[in-house]
């Protein structure tokens, strides 16, 4: 009889305790869930946005990016990030990214897809022709070796090594209109 009575109570669910405290369930044990970045490779990088220099870890599985998060080992941001730093994942995982060289012909209303080889050759031709057509060797008897017909803007977003090569290339070409974000 005992068993059926408890069975009965269980079936009806109206245990006296249940009514009084209303808390039917006691807390459930905690089990470690699988981390979605388990086994991902972590590559340190520095945030591309402001001048803070905060450390970020990029998690990748094979070639695919899965997650980015603050680098806890980095002394400047101690693993923390701001609004933009938190979002660097979407710079790569983004269907708006340019994936092809694009060319716009004079007067055209559309972009045309081109390949790198063609583009770099055409750009080189234009640089040479514009430089040579507007090159000034001397001014008031002084050697100046410059062209004022080509300007180069950028890049506070480039790496140091890129800035160095750009500085070197521009000066070798005789460019004086050399400016970038530090000026505005």
């Amino acid at each position: 009889m005992e068993f059926t009575r408890r069975e009965f109570l269980k079936v009806s669910g109206a245990t006296g305790l249940g009514i009084a405290f209303g808390r039917f369930l006691s807390p459930v044990k905690v089990y470690a869930q699988e981390l979605r970045i388990k086994g991902a490779k972590e590559t340190p990088t520095i945030c591309p946005y402001c001048g803070g220099g905060c450390g970020i870890l990029v998690h990748t599985v094979g070639d695919k990016i899965v997650y980015t998060e603050g680098d806890s080992n980095h002394p400047i941001n101690v693993g923390r990030l701001c609004t933009k730093g938190a979002c660097v994942y979407q710079i790569v995982d983004n269907d708006k990214r340019l994936t092809k060289v694009l060319y716009r012909a004079p007067g055209s209303t559309e972009w045309a897809e081109k390949d790198w080889n063609w583009a770099l050759k055409e750009i080189a031709k234009r640089i040479k022709s514009t430089r040579d057509a507007n090159f000034k060797a001397t001014e008031d008897g002084v050697t100046v070796n410059r062209t004022e017909a080509i300007a180069s803007l950028g890049g506070a977003a480039l790496d140091n090594e890129e800035d160095y090569l750009l500085s070197k290339m521009s000066r070798a070409l005789g460019i004086v209109y050399l400016e970038h974000q530090a000026r505005i």
């Binding site: 109206a14 459930v28 979605r36 998060e69 938190a86």
Partner: protein, 256 residues
């Protein structure tokens, strides 16, 4: 195991909303289409894809201006309205570390939790046909990592750790602790500079809806008793009372 919690010092929050993005980034939640309608605050409300956000309030008094920010997400209450309301075993559970975990695999989309949370936190995910809310980054915390929003907070406004330690720490700080007692104790607590929770969009004495208690703790048990009882009653009637009823009515017929 010791209960975990987060303590938010609202005076340190700069509303940069790194937490909103860290949450979406870790939990892979989509962005919403929003427009700027006169306030920095966006998106305007929680949703199934925005399970944490910062609420803004500009206060101008006596020539001085204050700009108040308060992070909202599931409070992971001890007496959780959603856990009590949820009819599906295991869909909304109170875990030992204090997390109130909504398991979307089990959720059937009845919306009871949405209707019964005193803080109006769980929201409807129309695409999945299920409810969703902040799960305290349970996959992270169960592996010893802090929640994504806590880790990223650049102002140091959010601390994560043992609930008791955080309460003891909060008591040493200026300001008022919100969440120690409310609803049996919240696992997201707030250090407010003034004893005015409403100023920070926090209900003064949050309570579970009376209807929920009536519904779940009074009506349903009674229902079960009546339901179960009436089956047994009629079985008992059949053997004990039906013969007498037949005897009584048959006699009456003979006389008439």
């Amino acid at each position: 195991m010791a209960e975990k919690a987060c303590l938010v010092d609202v005076t340190k929050c700069i509303a940069c909303r790194g937490c909103q993005i860290a949450c979406k980034s870790w939990n892979q939640l989509p962005a919403e289409k929003t427009t700027f309608d006169g306030t920095y605050e966006n998106p305007p409300d929680l949703s199934a894809s925005t399970v944490t956000k910062i609420k803004f309030r500009e206060v101008a008094e006596g020539g001085k201006v204050k700009w108040l920010f308060r992070k909202v997400q599931c409070f992971h209450c001890t007496d959780a309205g959603c856990v009590k309301a949820c009819p599906v075993p295991g869909a909304l559970t109170k875990l030992e570390d204090g997390t109130v975990y909504l398991d979307q695999n089990k959720c059937t989309g009845c919306k009871y939790c949405i209707m019964n949370c005193p803080f109006e936190i769980p929201r409807w995910d129309a695409t999945k046909g299920k409810a969703f809310k902040c799960n305290f980054c349970y996959d992270r915390t169960s592996n010893g990592l802090p929640p994504a929003c806590q880790k990223i907070c650049v102002g140091g406004a959010i601390q994560y750790g043992d609930r008791d330690t955080l309460i003891a720490y909060a008591k040493t700080r200026p300001g008022f602790l919100y969440g120690e007692k409310e609803l049996g104790g919240l696992h997201w607590m707030y250090l407010l500079p003034v004893d005015d929770p409403e100023l920070y969009f926090l209900p003064k004495e949050p309570k579970l809806p009376k209807s929920l208690i009536v519904w779940k703790d009074i009506l349903k048990p009674i229902g079960l008793i009546l339901g179960g009882g009436s089956i047994l009653a009629w079985l008992g009637y059949h053997f004990l009372l039906m013969p007498q009823k037949e005897k009584l009515t048959k006699e009456a017929e003979k006389h008439s």
